[in-house]
Structures are given as structure tokens and as C-alpha cells.
Amino acid sequence: MSVEVAVPKGYTRVFSKPRALSDAGFTYCPGCHHGIITRLVAEAIDELGILERTVGIAPVGCAVFLDRFFNCDFVQAAHGRACAVATGIKRARPDLVVFTYQGDGDLAAIGTAETVHAANRGENITVIFVNNGIYGMTGGEMAPTTLPGQRTTTTPAGREPRLHGYPLKISEMLAQLDGPAYITRQAVFDHPHIVKAKRAILKAFRNQLDGKGFSLVEILSTCPTNWRMSPAEAGRWVAEEVTEVFPLGDLKDVG
């Protein structure tokens, strides 16, 4: 239900919900960065004026209800298959703006092949990759991006690289390919980073409008619930620990 708050006389409205977002409440846990990231995507769609031609691909995982949050057309994909589904839509209707929104398990484990090959073909789509190093909705299991030593429900003694492998740096891998136009890693743990992440998301959508090809914005996110941390602690963990393994910045940009 939409509640329009009257602007008192002498005041100016400086902040409101993006037009791209519906009135449905987010289903993310309190303090999780998904809420910020979802909003940034909606703001980008608003600013580019593309709501009526955008199709989103909802993943399996914490963002499984994404279609409820947005006012644009949506397709729900199987776990890991978002880039293949996006390819099918974009090839069928090149005039549409197609974006996927995927977690690390979705994009970098079960969907590795679909991601790598969509990037390698330079599919003209936009990928929002939310990396929180864990399977959030499923129950806090180890993800491909879980840090060494990090405790999860499937690495109760901490991730041991010799047994469980190392954090998968899929953005660095994708940046080696000739296909992609833009690969970047961002974070949203404080305001300056939120502003930068927003700029990156805008660019990833603009690239699609300009026909530049595959653009992926990885965003380091939090999972206070499964990390067993407060939102503030989780944000600090990203800033201090996660960025050590996954440094922020552009990995590829064809300009």
C-alpha cells in the first residue's frame, strides 16, 4: 500500500522511493546490504528512464522475491541459469534492457559455466553480482567466495583451503576474457562507496544501452544473520577483511 506523505509548507521533497520499486516490502533480513543494492538498481533504472523496457531476472536465493520489489517485467530463473535466460530474452528482443541480479552461489558456483560463457560472448546484458560469501537464504553454508578461516554451517571449523578450495575470484577470471565490456567490484558499507557503486551500476546499464556488451558489477555485501554479526560489525568485516581478499575497483573497462 502506497502512503503519500504530504510535504509541509516551506519544505522541499529531497528523497522518495524510486519509481522502479513497487510498494511491496523487501524480504531481506534487517541490516543486510541487499536492500541498498536493490534500491541502487532501481535508482539507476529511474535515472535512465528505461523502466518500461527493462526485464529483470530473479535468481534463486535471498533475492528470489525480486520480481515483487520492481515495477518492471521479470523472469524467475533456475539456480545459476540467469545469464542463459537473459541471453534468450536479449537475443529474442534486443530492444529490451535485460539485467540479472545474482548471488555468489548462483553466479560463481552452480552457474559458473553460464556466467563465463555469457561474458565470453559479450552478451549485451547487465549483471548485478551480490557477493556476501555465504548461502544466505539456504542457511549459511559455504559459498565459493567464503574467506579462508570463515566459519559457515558446512565449514564449522572454518574454511580450510586445502580441503574446500580458495575464494573464487570470478570477476578477476572474467576480466581476462575478450568478451566483457566492464567488470568492476564495489561495496556499499559506507556512503562514499554507495555513491561509487551507484555510478558503476549506472555505467553497466548505460553500456547495454550503448551496445557495448557484457557488464558486471560485483558488490561486496553482508549477511549479518548467517555471519552472526550485527549490521555494523558486518559492514566493518567487509571493509577490513573481505576487501583484503576481494579488492575494490575496476577490473576491466573498455571505456
Binding site: V75, A78, V85, T87, E114
Partner: protein, 350 residues
């Protein structure tokens, strides 16, 4: 209608293009390679999209995307590849998207071989992937019939929003026969897709999904599927009968074996044996009722298959004890000659 000599795989591809195919996604596998190659050569020239995917899994999910975007779309493969597609097919079925899937069956299980087989009957007709769903399954026995059924597959799939499978085998894919190709479809006659994701301009947003966390909601989605399946069962059962009028032994066979069985009927009749053929064309919906009626009149219903007796189960469900129901099957890609089947027939008549 134009009459040309074509290989099965190519005739299916050409018939699909003439049926308004817009997007074709594939992964190469024998024995349907000619279909992939034909599409690569022809489809882009005629305004369509050809894309060789990185895997069968990706290919079927591209079909899911293109179908959601509202165009006629198709993939083709052979048995092991179709196994890989099952996840995507299950999603497509629940999301109620029309598309066509071609399975040129080969010997299995596992890597098997590339010889003709019918071991994927269960997979095709009983669901295949997870959940309660069906595909419309059409089984051609000749190259011309394959071309004809491709058009029907697209039409039925659109009409009911149920994925359709053309189930054939390497024999039909590889052989050449004169084919009457269907006329190119009038694009205006392809049913509109108001549910497709085409951009929410001037209408509420469309969501294509196979998901509802609430049991009551998911039950409702399932019930819609089941109602659709009952309607298809009422309206779309197809089969062929050969010399069934006075038959005392009824052969039941489909696809390649259905074709061989026609020769068996002729040879049997030359010997004076009262043999007829019942050839299901829709494997799902299976023609239970017409087969049941025939079973009342004959003493024996002999099922012949290139499997260990997969369709045989449906035959016995149809016959329900009204006649004897012996079985003869070959495995591993071995195709029986008409003479070999006739030996089986002689065990029960004459």
C-alpha cells in the same frame, strides 16, 4: 506445398523455420548434428537467431528466456543431452511457456551409442524432470510425418502453453525421404502472448515464474497445469490404425518401429494372418481409449519397442486384461527386421 528429398534432421529444421521459429538454441550431439548445422546455415538468413550454447543446460535456459520473451523457440538434442535439459524443461512446464524440444533418441543408458533406440519413453511421457508435469509428445514414423508434426508441435504448444516434444530416433533423423514441406506460417496466425515479458509499457508488469512459497498458491498453479493436461487428453489424442478391422493380433508400435510394423502387417496378411497395427502418434496424451476399444475385439495385443518395455506399461494400462499383452523389445540400438517381428507374431496367431 513443395516436395523435396530431405534428411529427417534437415526436414525437421526446415519445417520449424517455416513454422515461425525465431530463436533456436543448441549444443551439438549425434545423431541430430544435421539439424544444428542446417539451423546455423538457414535460420539467421531468414530473420531468426541461431546460438550454439556452452551446454545443454544453458541451451534449454535460453529457450526459457526466449519463450518468456514471447517468440517461437526450439532446442534439439539426443538422449544424454535431453537428460541435461530436464531441469529447464521442468521450469518451462511450470512457467507455462510454449516451446518445442526435439529428442533424436539414441541407445542408452549412459553414453550408450548413437544407434536408434526408444529408451527415453518414460522420460518423455511421464515428466522427466522434477514435479507433476507433462509434455505433449509427438512420435513421427517417417520423415514427412516428422515435418508435419513439427508444425503441430508448435501449434499445440502455443494453444495450451505446454512444452511439446518431438520424439524420434537416429533412424528418422538420418534417413532421406520425399517430404511435403508445410507452407510458411502466417505470422498473424501465431497466437498472441499477452503474458510475455516485452516491457511493461501501458500495462501492469508481467512476471514469468515457476515459484510460489505458499503451499496454497503452488497448489493453485499445479491445478491449472492439471486442468490443462485433462483438456489436452480430451482433445489431442492421435493415432493411426492399419488393418485393424478383422485383426486377431494387434501390433502396437510407434516411431521407427511403427514404420517397420507396417511392413510386418503386409507380410502377415500375405500369409493370411489376421494382423493389424495400432500406432500411437501422441505418446502423451497416450491413446488409451481407442486402444482399449480395439483390445475388446482382438485376442492378442503385441507391443514391439526399442526398449525394455516402457510403452508396454501404457499398453497394459489401456488393455486392462481385455486381451493377452505379450512384449517384444530390442535394446542397445538393435533394430529388428520385419521378418524378426513376424517370427514373434507367429507365436500368437496362425
Amino acid at each position: 506445398m513443395s516436395r523435396v528429398l530431405m534428411r529427417g534432421n534437415e526436414a525437421i529444421a526446415e519445417a520449424a523455420i517455416r513454422s515461425g521459429l525465431k530463436c533456436y538454441f543448441c549444443y551439438p550431439i549425434t545423431p541430430q548434428g544435421e539439424m544444428v548445422e542446417y539451423m546455423a546455415r538457414e535460420l539467421p538468413k531468414r530473420g531468426g537467431v541461431f546460438l550454439q550454447a556452452e551446454s545443454e543446460v544453458a541451451a534449454i535456459n535460453m529457450v526459457y528466456g526466449a519463450a518468456a520473451a514471447g517468440v517461437r523457440t526450439m532446442t534439439s538434442s539426443s538422449s544424454p543431452g535431453i537428460s541435461l535439459k530436464q531441469e529447464g524443461i521442468s521450469y518451462i512446464a511450470m512457467a507455462r511457456l510454449p516451446c518445442v524440444i526435439v529428442n533424436m533418441m539414441r541407445g542408452g543408458p549412459g553414453l550408450g551409442n548413437i544407434a536408434p533406440a526408444q529408451g527415453d519413453y518414460f522420460q518423455a511421457t511421464k515428466g522427466g524432470g522434477h514435479g507433476d508435469y507433462r509434455l505433449i509428445v509427438l512420435a513421427p514414423s517417417t520423415v514427412p510425418e516428422a515435418a508435419e508434426l513439427v508444425r503441430l508441435a508448435f501449434d499445440l504448444s502455443d494453444k495450451y502453453r505446454v512444452p511439446a516434444m518431438l520424439l524420434a530416433d537416429g533412424m528418422i533423423g538420418q534417413m532421406m525421404e520425399p517430404v511435403e514441406l508445410p507452407e510458411p506460417v502466417d505470422p498473424d496466425r501465431i497466437p498472441p502472448r499477452p503474458w510475455a515479458v516485452t516491457g511493461a509499457r501501458g500495462r501492469p508488469k508481467n512476471v514469468v515464474s515457476s515459484f510460489d512459497l505458499e503451499p496454497e498458491g503452488l497448489r493453485e498453479m499445479n491445478l491449472v497445469l492439471q486442468e490443462t493436461y485433462r483438456e489436452i487428453e480430451r482433445n489431442e489424442v492421435r493415432w493411426e490404425e492399419v488393418e485393424t478391422g478383422d485383426a486377431e493380433l494387434l501390433l502396437v508400435a510407434y516411431g521407427t518401429v511403427g514404420r517397420i510394423a507396417k511392413t510386418v502387417v503386409r507380410l502377415a496378411r500375405e500369409e493370411g494372418l489376421p494382423v493389424g497395427l495400432f500406432r500411437p502418434i501422441t505418446l502423451w496424451p497416450f491413446p488409451y481409449e481407442p486402444l482399449r476399444m480395439l483390445a475388446e475385439k482382438v485376442g492378442t495385443v503385441l507391443t514391439v519397442e526399442l526398449s525394455a518395455g516402457q510403452m508396454w506399461e501404457d499398453v497394459r494400462l489401456a488393455v486392462e486384461g481385455r486381451a493377452e499383452t505379450p512384449f517384444y523389445g530390442e535394446l542397445g540400438g538393435v533394430v529388428p527386421s520385419p521378418k524378426r517381428i513376424l517370427e514373434e507374431v507367429r507365436k500368437y496367431v496362425g
